[in-house]
């Protein structure tokens, strides 16, 4: 399974950020609460919910589309959930978090779905309509990203507007409290435009060559 190098680089950078986030969280330097520490039960439930998001996205993609679709959507979910948490952990060094952080991290699944699902659907549609002798799956993935970019940008802009509306309404605490939303937008945009479609392309090429 050969994945486009730019996708691998993006994935590697994300993994690095995620690892730094995990180290900060484990050492207690990150995930700072504005008042007390986070309730362990809330963090445990958040981790279970994150796992559920990843599994459900994989199953949904597999049942609704196919194995490459499921794989791509599952990886998008995993990437977005972990990167959102890691970015939130990093940001919490400067901006303390509130009790709502676990919910907002899991809520980044909304961005994952809104950004990744249309790209994957488009890639499959284009893949069916073009000759694979003329275009590789990778090119098809690139075309899908280009085709769905207006929708992704528009929805991303509305998401940013919502974040800004919250951020400008309160004091400096509010910015920190809503940072998981911004982290979710960034992580999902990154995966939808630079990772997921190319992962789908690699998985689809592999399943085709197997057949």
């Amino acid at each position: 399974m050969k994945i486009r190098s730019s996708a691998l680089v993006t994935l590697a950078v994300s993994v690095m950020v995620i690892l730094i986030g995990i180290v900060l969280a484990v050492t207690g330097m990150g995930l700072k609460h504005y008042s007390q520490s986070f309730r362990p039960a809330d963090i445990t439930q958040m981790l279970w919910a994150m796992l559920a998001v990843v599994i459900l996205l994989f199953v949904f993609g597999f049942v609704r589309y196919d194995m490459p679709g499921g794989l791509a959507l599952g990886v998008a979910g995993l990437h977005d959930q972990l990167l959102t948490l890691a970015l939130t952990t990093l940001a919490s060094i400067a901006f303390v978090q509130s009790y709502s952080m676990p919910a907002l991290v899991v809520g980044s699944a909304v961005f994952t779905c809104c950004f990744s699902v249309p790209v994957l659907r488009e890639a499959r549609l284009i893949g069916k309509s073009v000759s694979l002798r003329e275009h590789t799956r990778e090119e098809v993935a690139g075309m899908a990203v280009k085709k769905t970019m207006p929708v992704v940008i528009l929805v991303g802009a509305v998401a940013l507007l919502i974040f800004i509306a919250f951020a400008v309404s309160g004091n400096s605490l509010m910015i920190g409290f809503m940072l998981p939303v911004l982290a979710g937008i960034v992580a999902s945009f990154l995966s939808a435009t630079r990772i997921t479609p190319y992962l789908w392309a690699a998985a689809a090429s592999r399943s085709r060559s197997k057949r």
């Binding site: 504005y34 008042s35 007390q36 309730r39 039960a41 809330d42 439930q45 958040m46 279970w48 919910a49 559920a52 998001v53 459900l56 996205l57 949904f60 609704r64 509130s98 009790y99 709502s100 676990p102 919910a103 907002l104 899991v106 809520g107 699944a109 909304v110 779905c113 809104c114 699902v117 249309p118 659907r121 488009e122 549609l125 207006p150 929708v151 528009l154 929805v155 509305v158 998401a159 507007l161 919502i162 800004i164 509306a165 919250f166 400008v168 309404s169 309160g170 004091n171 605490l173 509010m174 409290f177 809503m178 939303v181």
Partner: protein, 444 residues
């Protein structure tokens, strides 16, 4: 051969039907939103009332009864406690006191609270004004040290061995409540031994040295727990909360009781309502400029989606908190996504020369399915997350988001389609009415 019966052919004026349908739907929307803003007393005395549920910045504040603001966004109650101890508390004792107060508040459902130590050694708890139900101070300042003792007064078990506690109705009339206690392994062993020894006698449950109840022991209680009846509702709830939180090193006394501003700043509520209204207005404006009549319908659906989401959030007693607002507005984002995907394809098809009606039909049957996919996937996620974390913050968020998505799903997949078809019938299938910068070939 029977004579053919002359039948009168009834012709239906489709335009009139569409006009009436749209008028009825507009009227329903207006009434619903108006009720959301003003509420309504159902009788002359106002005993039965529909509270307003749409947040507004005006002087009308009753919506805050339906969507109770949390400490982050609403007015706060600030209680300052001082320990009833002769010597100053150690650092560990201070930390434990803060932990116990925070745990008791969280157990009552108030998560966005702040408990901190002041410079003069007092403990300050900031909580929503609505948290004060008349029993709060007693619950927060009591030490919460429970003991079990035999008839001679010898303590044989303390609250440290209580693993969890709850309360429930002990009789059908709802006048008597029982306290259910489950012990940890060591507590289980001690309680089993002592109740075996004390069969025919009684045990006494004390709180901070005061006897609460002395039930008789009819048989050895070896199951690892006990259910003790004889409490009123409020004490049973308080004791269960105290048992779950554990005891504080010392009892506290309320030194000061003041009103505080929201944690996120004075006036945050009004600013947030205005800012979110601006977001809605900008999105609606974009749709109207780009999709014209179609955009008006889209803005209408978004308004209904928000009004219904706030309505269900109020019904669920979700409160006016960051969690509730985030869930509602992420649901709004999913609906915006659905409408954008549907209309992008409609515009593309119109550019290719298809009629608007045909383009709408094609969009729903083809690429527009992405909207259905996204909302269906998110709804499934919400249901599973609610099962995983029914009582926690993630579960509360998923409940509101799930309802918001369900409303959005019906609105984008059914209502939007029906209304678009009715407007097409009423105003005609002219592409210029539904897409900016697009002229159908025939019109050119």
């Amino acid at each position: 051969m029977a004579k053919p019966v002359p039948t009168k052919k009834i012709t239906v004026n489709r335009k009139a039907v569409s006009a009436v349908t749209l008028l009825v739907l507009i009227a329903l929307t207006v009434v619903f939103v108006w009720l959301g803003v003003t509420g309504r007393n159902m009788d002359a005395q106002g005993l039965y009332k529909l509270l307003p549920w749409l947040p507004t910045t005006g002087t009308e504040a009753r919506w805050r009864e339906a969507l109770v603001p949390g400490a982050e966004l609403g007015e706060n109650l600030v209680l300052t406690f001082r320990p009833q101890a002769e010597n100053p508390l150690t650092e560990e004792e201070k930390a434990e006191t803060v932990r116990v107060i925070a745990a008791r508040l969280a157990d009552l459902g108030w998560r966005d609270t702040k408990v901190e130590l002041t410079q003069d050694g007092a403990v300050r708890a900031i909580m929503p004004k609505a948290a004060d139900d008349g029993h709060l101070e007693h619950l927060l300042d009591a030490r919460g040290h429970f003991t079990f003792s035999d008839p001679q007064g010898n303590e044989f078990l303390t609250g440290e061995h209580i693993a969890t506690a709850g309360f429930g109705m002990a009789n059908q009339a709802g006048t008597d409540f029982s306290l259910s206690i489950a012990f940890d392994d060591e507590g289980k062993r001690i309680f089993a031994e002592k109740t075996t020894e004390l069969v025919g006698q009684s045990i006494t449950l004390k709180l901070d040295g005061n006897t609460l109840v002395s039930p008789g022991v009819n048989e050895p209680l070896t199951a690892g727990g006990v259910s003790i009846p004889g409490f009123a509702l409020e004490p049973a709830r308080e004791y269960a909360v105290m048992m779950r939180s554990g005891a504080m090193p010392y009892a506290l006394e309320v030194a000061e009781r003041t009103a505080g501003t929201p944690l996120l700043g004075e006036g945050v509520q009004n600013r947030l309502i205005v800012a979110l209204t601006v977001v809605f207005a900008l999105v609606a404006l974009y749709f109207i400029i780009r999709q014209r009549l179609g955009g008006v319908v889209a803005a209408w659906m978004l308004l209904v989606q928000l009004a219904l989401s706030y309505f269900f959030a109020a019904l669920m007693r979700a409160g006016f908190t960051l969690v509730t607002l985030s869930a509602i507005w992420l649901g709004f984002l999913a609906v915006v996504f659905g409408i954008v995907v549907l209309f992008e394809n409609v515009q593309e098809d119109i550019r290719r020369g298809r009629s608007v009606r045909q383009a709408v039909k094609e969009s729903y049957a083809g690429r527009g399915h992405a909207a259905l996919d996204v909302m269906a996937a998110l709804l499934i996620i919400c249901v599973v997350v609610i099962i995983i974390d029914a009582q926690g913050v993630v579960g509360s968020f998923a409940k509101v988001l799930g309802i918001s998505l369900l409303v959005g799903l019906v609105l984008t997949q059914v209502a939007l389609r029906v209304i678009l078809n009715e407007t097409l019938t009423l105003f005609g299938d002219r592409s210029a009415l539904y897409a900016s910068g697009v002229m159908k070939k025939e019109e050119e």
